[in-house]
Every structure is written in structure tokens, then in C-alpha cells.
């Protein structure tokens, strides 16, 4: 059998990046590395460390698709409209005679999307001395109607917000009662079993306005007015009004309102780090053992080969799943286990067979003849010779390890803190994202995994092509 071509790593890389798969794979890898660079800018670590903290994401819409999903539907989907405390015009009237302070907040917003908003929420920040103020929240419609959404006495002092999610009709039943009464009395609307506040409030007045399936949207300028009656001149109120959209950002949100783009971007460094580090350590260790096995021969060879058989028979994924269930290890502990179970294996067999061929080449024989020690030849001649192959094997092994991590994370056994592509997919799967048609939650993280693995597969293939010239013959 002909000896493998003698190419240095640099020459191999140069040749590999001249092939089409090499260029495409390399380009994809560069794109991934760019993602790794963008991550700290878009979502610094203190953002992603709040991934498990539900309260950090409350101002995002829930289960919103990406903003570009407009292209799949006629018209535009609503974006989230946020009216911040500083957007409100505040008027405060203190009446010394009655000991009453009246505070009015008012702001307007333009609603011009072609679909009803997703949810309505008002957050009220109050400072009061002894007695809680009486607060009324009202919505002004383009047709001149005003609907009182809620009349309440807020209990929390600022900065803790009093949250009123009007669309959650169980939490705030009063809103729905008010809307029903208003729609039936002012517009003769037909009552239905489950009206939605965010639909009826933004619907054209008429018989169908309570029915979420038949109501017609009314575009125009809406206003939000908050009137508070307080009992101390120092009392104050501020508000934030959220008209949640149905789309958010580039990747949408999940069931806990988390920005999926943060998770997907963070998945890149995690997958790249895990995949490349695992592939590097495992393939290099196996190369060393394979080279030793082929070069020294005899009992050493026998021992390494039997150990390889042993490691090949041990089912690694089932055992990893077992360990993950019991110990919930971090991603680096998982990496350690992976390495521990792959000290020798398939790669050491491949490298051994290459070394067996290299062994018979003339320069190795001449090195032996001028008295070079075995270990010197191993390091000076054998290792440099097999390194390009190791390189190709590393590139081809990276996808396998990226998917190993993704598989564990998919089963909910990955790193407990970091969002990874696999854990995003697993959460989506467990929350029936497929059944409910939340396609972005499934398609985008898995596109991330596929992109990364295809990049490495193409790179490995281009190395393979350079190193095995027979593959391009004919």
C-alpha cells in the first residue's frame, strides 16, 4: 500500500482552503467566530446570567415570533409599544382644603399595525405615606370612547411595581367585566364566552367587537390616562404601559418572554468551545496513543489496541445520560467525562495504521540507522507526519461533540445555567412548541446547530480531499 502523502499542516491548510468546501466551510466558521465576537456586545454575560430569572424578561412579549415573520402574512404584525414613565405628561394638583392630591398621567400612542396586539399590561409605581391612593386607569380610543380598565388601590411602594396584566382575565377580572359592560351598553355588542381585552379595546365599535374571531381592528391614535387621588401632598405615581406586539427582535421570544436571540447567540460560543475543546483533547490523546501503539509495536501495541476495543464497546451516550441525571454536572464536568471515556478508540486505530505505513519509509529507517532513539523519532518524524490527519479528524469530530452536548441539553441534562442550542430546543419541545406552531423556537436554534456542524464537516471534508488524493482521481 502506498504511503500517505507527506504534507505539513500549513501546506494542508493552504490546499484545503483552495477547495470549494474548504472556502465555504471556512467562511461559515468565520461567521460563527463573528457571532462569538458580537455576543458580548448584544448580550453581555450579566444578561445571560439572568436567563433563568423570569422577572428579568417581563417587558418582552410572550411567545412572539421574529419581526421578519411579517413576510409570511399580509400586512404588518404589531411591534411592542412601550410607554415609559418619562413619556407620560404628569399634572399634579394639591388641594389644601380637602387634603387631597390629584395626579393625572396622560400619553398617546399610534396603533397602525394590521393585527390586534398580543397583550396589554400596566405597571404602576406609587409612593405614598399612610393611605394608599385610589388609582383609575383608562384607555382613550380614536372614536372618542373612553374605557376604564381598572380602579384600584395599589399596595406596593416604588420601586416595586404594581403589575396589572389586563389580558390575563383571571388575574385582573375587573378589566374584562368593565369592557363587557361598556361594549354591550355603548355598542350593543353580542356577548361571547371568552372575549379578549386586547381585541375588544382595539376593535371597531359594533355588534362583533367582543368576539375575538370576528372583531375588526381600529387603527389610529389611542391614549392612556391614569388618574390618582392621593392623601398626602408628597405622594407620587408613575406608570409604564405596555401594548405587547406579536413579534419581537430577530429570533422571537419563548414562553418566559426571553429573547431567543440572546440564547441563540450564546449557544455559539458554548457549542464551539465544547465541540472544539472536546474534539481537540480526544483526538490528540487518541493520536498520541495510536502513534505509540503503531511505532513501538509488540505488547504496547497489544495493550493500546485492546483498550481501544474496550472503549469502543462502552456505550458512551447512555452512560453520559446516566451520569448527567444523577449529578447534573456543569458543561465542563461533562467534557471531562467525555474525555475520560474516549482516551483511546477509533482515531487511535486510524493513526496506528498510518504510522505502520510511515514506519517503513526511508527517512525513518535512516534515522534509526544513524542511531536516533525511538522516542526522538516519534517526536521528530512520526508526530509531524500524522498531524495533518489529526487535524482533519479533529475537524470531523467537532460536529459529533457539538451534537453530544446538544443531545444532553435537549433531554434537559445539559449545563443548568447557560442557554445552549440543545437546551433551547429541549425547552421548546417540552412546551409543545411544535404542536402550537411556535416554529421560530424550534427552527432557529436548530439552524444554529446545523450551521456550526456543517461548517466543520465541510472543513474536515476539504482536509480529507487534500490528504487522500485518491478521492479526487478519475
Amino acid at each position: 500500500m502506498a504511503a500517505p502523502p507527506a504534507l505539513g499542516i500549513v501546506a494542508t491548510l493552504k490546499d484545503a482552503f483552495r477547495t470549494v468546501p474548504g472556502i465555504v466551510g471556512g467562511g461559515m466558521l468565520v461567521a460563527l467566530l463573528a457571532m462569538v465576537v458580537i455576543v458580548p456586545i448584544y448580550a453581555p454575560f450579566d444578561v445571560v446570567s439572568t436567563w433563568g430569572d423570569v422577572s428579568a424578561w417581563v417587558d418582552n412579549p410572550r411567545l412572539a415570533g421574529p419581526e421578519w415573520s411579517d413576510i409570511f402574512v399580509p400586512g404588518t404584525l404589531p411591534r411592542t409599544i412601550t410607554i415609559q414613565p418619562e413619556d407620560f405628561r404628569k399634572t399634579k394638583v394639591v388641594s389644601e382644603t380637602f387634603g387631597i392630591t390629584t395626579i393625572v398621567l396622560r400619553s398617546t400612542f399610534d396603533f397602525s399595525a394590521d393585527y390586534f396586539p398580543g397583550e396589554l399590561t400596566f405597571r404602576l409605581f406609587t409612593t405614598f405615606k399612610d393611605i394608599t391612593p385610589l388609582v383609575s386607569v383608562q384607555l382613550e380610543r380614536p372614536d372618542g370612547e373612553t374605557v376604564e380598565l381598572l380602579r384600584t388601590t395599589p399596595e406596593n411602594q416604588a420601586p416595586t411595581a404594581n403589575s396589572y396584566p389586563f389580558s390575563q382575565t383571571i388575574t385582573v377580572p375587573e378589566t374584562l367585566r368593565n369592557i363587557r359592560a361598556w361594549a354591550t351598553s355603548n355598542f350593543n355588542a353580542t356577548d361571547v364566552a371568552f372575549p379578549k381585552p386586547e381585541v375588544t379595546l382595539f376593535a371597531e365599535g359594533g355588534e362583533d367587537m367582543l368576539d375575538p374571531h370576528r372583531a375588526r381592528l381600529m387603527r389610529g391614535e389611542y391614549g392612556i390616562r391614569v388618574i390618582a387621588v392621593a392623601f398626602d401632598s408628597e405622594d407620587n405615581i408613575d406608570g409604564r404601559f405596555l401594548v405587547f406586539g406579536r413579534v419581537f427582535g430577530l429570533a422571537g421570544t419563548d414562553h418566559l418572554r426571553r429573547d431567543l436571540l440572546t440564547g441563540i447567540l450564546w449557544g455559539a460560543p458554548v457549542a464551539l468551545a465544547f465541540g472544539t475543546v472536546a474534539a481537540l483533547i480526544v483526538i490528540l490523546t487518541q493520536t498520541v496513543f495510536g502513534a505509540i501503539s503503531g511505532w513501538y509495536g509488540g505488547r504496547t501495541d497489544e495493550a493500546v489496541q485492546r483498550a481501544s476495543d474496550f472503549f469502543l464497546i462502552i456505550p458512551i451516550l447512555p452512560i453520559l445520560i446516566l451520569i448527567s441525571i444523577f449529578y447534573r454536572p456543569s458543561i465542563w464536568a461533562i467534557l471531562f467525562v467525555v474525555v475520560a471515556f474516549s482516551l483511546v478508540g477509533g482515531t487511535s486505530k486510524v493513526i496506528r495504521s498510518i504510522v505502520l505505513q510511515v514506519k517503513q519509509e526511508q527517512y525513518v529507517e535512516s534515522a534509526t540507522s544513524y542511531g536516533a532513539s525511538k522516542i526522538r523519532i516519534l517526536f521528530k518524524h512520526i508526530f509531524p507526519r500524522v498531524m495533518p490527519y489529526t487535524f482533519a479528524l479533529i475537524a470531523l469530530a467537532v460536529p459529533a461533540y457539538i451534537f453530544l452536548e446538544a443531545s444532553l441539553a435537549f433531554l434537559g441534562l445539559g449545563d443548568p445555567v447557560l442557554p445552549t442550542w440543545g437546551s433551547l430546543l429541549g425547552t421548546a419541545y417540552n412546551n409543545n412548541a411544535m404542536f402550537n406552531g411556535f416554529w421560530w423556537w424550534i427552527a432557529l436554534p436548530s439552524a444554529g446547530i446545523i450551521f456550526a456542524t456543517v461548517a466543520f464537516a465541510l472543513l474536515g471534508y476539504s482536509f480529507d480531499k487534500v490528504l487522500n488524493p485518491r478521492l479526487r482521481e478519475q
Binding site: 470549494v20 485492546r306 452512560i319 445520560i321 446516566l322 435537549f410 433531554l411 436548530s446 464537516a457 471534508y461
Partner: protein, 353 residues
């Protein structure tokens, strides 16, 4: 008889490997007694619950109550063999597992309610086999056919395109495609059921039952075939390209044989040993490597069983599955060695040395 000696040596080594692999799995599955503690906790809970349901028991004085509890608890622990020291217990587990005396499951049962692990595995095994054996065979046949076509027109646009497709599909595991295909065909287009292996309730008529089963099989089968045919095509292509330059192939052409005959009689035959090895190992490996694919498709086979067993800490099932897998794998490797030695004198010479 060098080959005989080689076979014996190989057999002994494989046996040692098998024993070690199963023993390691047993140790991990027990986690140094961690599982035993969980099991004891479960037994204590079960005993207390059953005693509390008995009004006569509640009337007894406290120390008598405690005594009754202790006797029952220890009896149960004894019966399950949980009070043995760690080392003898793991060795006993290993020996039982190697003899495929799989024993009883702790939590899971088969559909008929049997807790015999052999029953549970035998109930699940056919489903996994039907899915993955069929998929492997279809993918192998299609992939080999495609690989030969690709090698025949090496470096043509068709070959380049299919090579890239093969490489990209075979690095991506079936479950990722599964998710996409379920999304598209199961929920989007609603052509196939998104999961499960029968409708509930299953049809009673045997023909309808089979049809229903096939209908549920189609999507996972198609997914697995799509995910693995590429590796067959690419491997075959490379093997065939290597063989095509050999002298005996040239000789075949020189004899004036048709290209098809040369391909079949010379090229494919020479390239077949590695293909057969790969096929045999895939067939054995496939029935275990499917944990997530089966989970995604909710396909109640061995892979899903393994995952369910881990979730409820059913260690005997875990050990049983790994043992059955290891025994099958080792047996396959041995049979492959044997066949190679018998078929190919070169292998006998080099491996026996």
C-alpha cells in the same frame, strides 16, 4: 493452526472486554450505592403508606408500630438484595447481566403489567428493530447504489453535489431532522402523525392495525433513512474509487466485460468487506443509538425505554439494556472476525501475526 489460535485469543480478549464493560456500567448504574439509597427510601415510604392504611396498626403502641415497620422494611430490603455489601453485589449483578438473567424491574412494566425485564425488553425490541433495521437496510441499499453512481462519475457536478449533501446529512443526527420533519409534515402539512406508533385506541382489524402502524412508521423511518444514507453513499464512493484503480479491475475491463459486470463482479466485491463490517456494526449499534430519536418521535422502543428507566432510576433495566447491547456487539465483532478470516486469507495472515 495459526488461525485457530488467533480466534481463541481474540475470543478471550473480547470476553474480558465484555466483562469489564458490563462491570463498569453496573458500577455507574449503581453510583456507589446511590441508587440503593433511593430504593431503600422508596421501600420505607411504601411500607409506611401500607401500614398507615391499616386501622388495627394505628391502635398499637408506638414502639410496637416501629418494630412492625422495621421487620417489614428489613424483609423487603433483604428480598431485593439491597443489604449486601457493595463489591459482592456488583459482581453478582455483572454475572447475572452477562448470563442475560435480567431479573425484575423496579418501577417500569410492560403493557401487560409484567415487571420481568426480559418481557419489557422483548416488548420494546421489535418496535426499535422494525424502525431502525428497516431504515438501515433501505439507507444502506440506496446509499451503496448512489455511491457507486457517484464513483462512476467522480468529480462531476452530480458527484460534488451529492458528496456535500452526504457529508452534511451524516454529521447531523436523525433527531434534528426529526424535529424539522415533525414540524413540517406532522404539524404544518399534517400529512403524517407527529408521534407515537399507533392511534389511540388502535384499530382491531389486523389489516387496519398494520396500516395504522405503517402510517405512524413512515415519518420516523423516512427521517432516519434521510439522516444516514449519506454516510453510506460517501463511504461507498471512496471505497469504490480506491478499488477502481486496482489491476484486477483493469483486467476485468480488458477482458471486455460490460461496465455493469465489472462494477458488480470486481469493484463491489473487492470493496465489500469494509461495507459489510460497517453494515453489521450499524445494525447492532442502531438499536441503542436511538434514545433521542425515539424520544422525539415518541416511539416506544428500546431508546425511549432507556430514557424512561433513567428518569425513574430503574437501575436493573439500565444494566440489562447495556448488558444485552454489549453482548450483541461483542458477538457481532467476533462473528465478523471469523467470517473475515474464512473469506480473506490476507486478513488471516496479517491479523494472526
Amino acid at each position: 493452526m495459526a488461525f485457530g489460535r488467533y480466534l481463541i485469543k481474540r475470543g478471550v480478549l473480547l470476553l474480558i472486554t465484555l466483562v469489564l464493560a458490563v462491570y463498569v456500567s453496573v458500577i455507574i448504574a449503581n453510583f456507589g450505592g446511590f441508587i440503593d439509597e433511593i430504593l431503600k427510601g422508596q421501600i420505607a415510604f411504601a411500607v409506611r403508606t401500607s401500614l398507615r392504611a391499616d386501622p388495627d396498626y394505628a391502635a398499637l403502641p408506638d414502639d410496637v408500630q416501629e418494630e412492625i415497620f422495621r421487620v417489614r422494611f428489613e424483609g423487603m430490603v433483604e428480598a431485593r438484595g439491597l443489604n449486601e455489601p457493595f463489591l459482592p453485589k456488583t459482581i453478582r449483578y455483572t454475572i447475572d447481566a452477562l448470563q442475560l438473567k435480567l431479573g425484575r424491574a423496579i418501577v417500569l412494566t410492560d403493557a401487560a403489567g409484567s415487571d420481568q425485564i426480559a418481557d419489557i425488553i422483548l416488548e420494546r425490541l421489535p418496535r426499535t428493530l422494525i424502525l431502525f433495521f428497516t431504515a438501515d437496510i433501505i439507507a444502506a441499499a440506496f446509499g451503496i447504489w448512489l455511491g457507486m453512481k457517484m464513483a462512476h462519475r467522480a468529480m462531476s457536478p452530480m458527484d460534488r453535489g451529492l458528496t456535500v449533501l452526504s457529508i452534511t446529512t451524516f454529521v447531523i443526527p436523525p433527531w434534528v431532522f426529526g424535529i424539522y420533519f415533525i414540524l413540517i409534515f406532522g404539524y404544518g402539512l399534517r400529512i403524517f402523525p407527529p408521534g407515537g406508533f399507533l392511534t389511540t385506541p388502535p384499530p382491531t382489524d389486523p389489516w387496519l392495525y398494520t396500516a395504522d402502524f405503517m402510517y405512524h412508521l413512515a415519518l420516523p423511518l423516512g427521517t432516519v433513512v434521510f439522516a444516514i444514507f449519506g454516510s453510506w453513499a460517501y463511504t461507498t464512493r471512496n471505497l469504490v474509487l480506491q478499488v477502481m484503480d486496482e489491476d484486477f479491475v483493469m483486467a476485468g475491463r480488458a477482458k471486455g466485460l460490460s461496465e455493469g459486470a465489472v462494477q458488480r463482479k470486481y469493484v463491489l466485491r473487492a470493496a465489500s468487506p469494509p461495507i459489510v463490517t460497517a453494515l453489521a456494526l450499524t445494525l447492532v449499534g442502531s438499536w441503542f443509538g436511538a434514545i433521542i430519536t425515539e424520544t422525539v418521535f415518541n416511539w416506544p422502543g428500546i431508546g425511549l425505554l432507556y430514557f424512561q428507566a433513567i428518569q425513574v432510576f430503574d437501575a436493573p433495566i439500565i444494566i440489562g439494556l447495556i448488558a444485552v447491547y454489549a453482548v450483541l456487539l461483542v458477538a457481532t465483532v467476533f462473528v465478523l472476525d471469523l467470517t473475515y478470516g474464512l473469506l480473506d486469507p490476507r486478513v488471516r495472515a496479517t491479523r494472526g501475526a
